[in-house]
């Protein structure tokens, strides 16, 4: 855990969800809850079988973008810890792609912060997915649903309140 309580990693290797959750909350008795989201490679997309997926990213900008997204989450909710791990390279169905972990005194901040991080990451971090299908390779198109999911947070001001657990 960094002193700031934010961990950002972009890596080819898999990650250990339990270890990352422990790193965000261990030794922090003020943490009352941890929320985590893990994104996986699906074996079907748009009606086509997906044999594998390759994730490309923009080294340098990716880390900056993820750090900015984490900072935005921390400005909106009282988070004691944030962890974002995103993989790149060739992944197979069932493989883990991304992990987002948030720790807070209360569950509302942890849940909302975790969802916010995923929604913003999907539209603001420079990653691109390419799928291998029986009809050949294809780049995944951006989804308007993802844009809407990110935009709805723009209408939601930071609820930096202390709510009952």
């Amino acid at each position: 855990m960094s002193p700031s309580g934010t961990v950002i990693r972009v890596q080819e290797a898999d990650f250990d969800v339990g270890a990352e959750i422990a790193a965000v909350s261990d030794g922090q008795p003020s943490v009352g809850g941890v929320a985590a989201f893990v994104g996986l490679v699906r074996d079907i997309a748009g009606g086509a079988a997906v044999a594998a997926m390759t994730l490309e990213h923009y080294p340098g900008m990716t880390e900056k973008a993820l750090a900015a997204i984490a900072a935005e989450a921390r400005s909106r909710w009282p988070l004691d810890g944030v962890c974002i791990v995103h993989r790149f390279g060739r992944l197979l169905p069932g493989d883990r792609i991304v992990l987002v972990v948030t720790a807070s005194a209360h569950r509302d901040a942890a849940f909302d912060g975790c969802r916010f991080l995923m929604d913003w990451l999907k539209t603001k971090a420079p990653f691109w997915k390419r799928e291998e299908t029986p009809d050949g390779d294809r780049w995944v198109a951006a989804r308007s649903d993802d844009d809407r999911a990110a935009e709805r947070w723009l209408a939601t001001p930071a609820p930096l309140s202390e709510k009952a657990p």
Binding site: G39, L55, E56, H57, Y58, G60, M61, K64, H86, I97, V98, M118, L121, K122, T123, K124, A125, P126, F127, W128, K129, R130, W139, V140, A141, A142, D146
Partner: protein
């Protein structure tokens, strides 16, 4: 200036990264793209339609009317699809 291309823009241009010296009157991303289109069929194909293309200047999201200079790093790519 340093240019980077990602995803299908990299495939269509056939280049992931290059250093270019466009004329002095190329002062925005839009002018840069107009100039790049003249460099060959791969570029013309990649930049035929700007609607599905996004821009970053010095690793920050930017717009086609953003100002650019010789020392800038400009990246061109499709909308992101991570997560």
């Amino acid at each position: 200036m340093k240019l980077l291309y990602f995803a299908w823009l990299k495939q269509r241009t056939g280049i992931s990264e290059e250093t270019v010296s466009p004329p002095d009157d190329v002062r925005t991303v839009a002018a840069l793209v107009d100039w790049l289109r003249l460099r060959g069929p791969g570029y013309a194909d990649a930049f035929a339609d700007l609607r599905p293309i996004r821009v970053a200047v010095n690793q920050e999201f930017a717009a086609f009317d953003s100002a650019i200079g010789p020392d800038d790093e400009i990246a061109l790519f499709p909308p992101v699809t991570g997560g």
